[in-house]
Amino acid sequence: MGAIFRREVLSYFTSPIGYIFLAAFYASSALFFSIYSLEQGSTKLDVVFGQLMLILVVLIPILTMRTISEEKKNKTDQCLLTSPVSLFGIVAGKFLAAFLIYVLGVAITLVYAVVVSVFASPDWTVILGNVVGLSLLGAAFISIGIFCSSFTENQMVSAVVSFVVLVVLYLFSTIAGLIPVEFIKKILTSLSFLERYSGFTYGLFDLSNVLFFISTVVVFLFLTVRVLERRRWA
């Protein structure tokens, strides 16, 4: 797992993807920060965090599109799958590498908090909660992106499919509002990433939301392992 993690991190920076992801993330978060915080003269960063979710829907597929599909295309998966490493080790190594790059992106929000603290003291616990929430949301998105990447050899297909999936997940609460059947509405709302994440941006640190994102990660990494496993038996 360690070897795969190191290789993945390295490959994010030997290819343009790591740079593109970080640059796009920094640029958009900086834009939100200046519009919703600096211009408004507000110490609150929750709107910035709230807006970042939409950016993730676009950027995470770029981060994860090649994780498994490129290995399949270049047949380098033959090297990984015939080495003495478990499938979970392979998938986890890839997940952690993508997550590390993502956390490097999220870390910029702490810089914004420091900038704000120059003018007035912000509510540090709320900001910390937001950072944790954003990290968890990203982790869940990354696991979904990796899962989508395990189906195809084509990076573009992988990116588009994960983008569509993330958009649908983003719209879950909106879709729920359109459905008249009460219990389906309830299920959709409880599965809504937006609702769960909004909790964090409001400054609520709800353990059930934390567990929701962590279990999403576990489930999708497990499903990715199953997809790889199943292919061997095909």
Partner: protein, 323 residues
């Protein structure tokens, strides 16, 4: 040691590998020979745990690859058909990655250096893999298989893309490795298998059609003494003359090569040498023998015979004549 027992692999309705069994002992180089699509790569992919078998077992040093994959895989060095290289890495980074991936315990720097010297890639050690030529990529692939000094080496067409000098080098390297490793090497190049392997397994349409040493294979198939002769003279008369000779079992006319010159395939009784008799007979009747050669089965013929079954096509005999 590698042992394969009743291995089958089905892709949908297609039987890619059909109930094959064989064994390769330590210090043996086993050649896996077959036409394209015979099931060579599939078998190798099963042996290395890349895909699973539908039925049967594959044991590496007695460890089942499906039951205890991590332990079994640690004993294998695998060079797939297409070397699994990361183009965005240098050779050095790549081999270091493989070293870590295989959780090697050998001293890293000296071990990697030894391998690079062995496959002669030391001077491209710091170059990006994507900038290397096909031959060098193949060698890096081979180097990758050797990392960790595994007991078992499985090489899928290891000399593809190399120039003739490199091919000779790599072959002698494989021979050297075969002394203290178990090597399985697949190829559709017959001379390669002939030059390198101790034992040959011929596979066709997923089935093993022969499993023996090259000598034994030739003996088993070459049980009749055949002569090919190119003779100038009227076809029917020549044929009659030949058929009158003692010890001739059968004679057939193959092709006309020039005006009034025909190629005859003459089959004699076991152990009988009819070349002198044939010469005298033709000379007495005023026919000219332009060419005469005994048609011993080469590995090439064995291969064609085994993989084509009874339909020994006229194309193969024509080729023999032209040669």
């Amino acid at each position: 040691m590698i042992e394969v027992r009743n291995l089958s692999k089905h892709f949908g309705d297609k039987k890619a590998v059909d109930n094959i069994s064989f064994k390769a002992e330590n210090g043996e180089i086993l050649g896996f020979l077959g036409p394209n699509g015979a099931g060579k790569s599939t078998t190798m992919n099963i042996l290395t745990g890349y895909i699973s078998s539908t039925q049967g077992k594959a044991l590496i040093d007695g460890i089942d690859i499906l039951e205890n994959p991590i332990k079994a895989k640690a004993k294998i060095g695998y060079l797939p058909e297409l070397p699994p290289l990361y183009m965005d890495m240098t050779v050095k980074e790549y081999l270091n990655f493989i070293y870590d991936l295989k959780k090697c315990k050998l001293p890293k720097n000296s071990h990697l250096k030894d391998i690079c010297n062995l496959v002669k890639i030391d001077h491209v050690f710091n170059r990006m893999i994507k900038n290397l030529s096909k031959g060098y990529k193949q060698r890096v692939g081979l180097a990758q298989a050797l990392v960790g000094n595994p007991n078992v080496l499985i090489l899928d067409e290891p000399t593809v893309g190399l120039d003739p000098n490199q091919i000779i080098e790599i072959r002698s390297l494989i021979k050297k490795l075969g002394k203290n490793h178990t090597v399985i090497l697949s190829s559709h190049i017959l001379s390669e298998v002939q030059a390198v392997c101790d034992r040959i397994v011929v596979i066709n349409e997923g089935k093993i059609v022969a499993d023996d040493t090259e000598d034994n294979l030739s003996k088993a198939l070459d049980n009749e003494h055949k002569i090919l002769a190119r003779i100038d003279g009227e076809k029917d008369k020549v044929l009659a003359c030949i058929n009158e000779l003692d010890d001739v079992v059968e004679c057939s006319v193959d092709t006309m090569s020039e005006e009034n010159v025909w190629v005859y395939r003459i089959e004699a009784k076991q152990g009988a040498d009819i070349r002198r008799k044939l010469f005298t007979c033709m000379a007495e009747n005023g026919f000219y023998i332009l060419e005469m050669k005994s048609s011993e089965l080469s590995l090439e013929d064995i291969f064609i015979k085994l993989t084509m079954g009874e339909n020994l096509s006229p194309i193969s005999s024509n080729k023999e004549v032209e040669n």
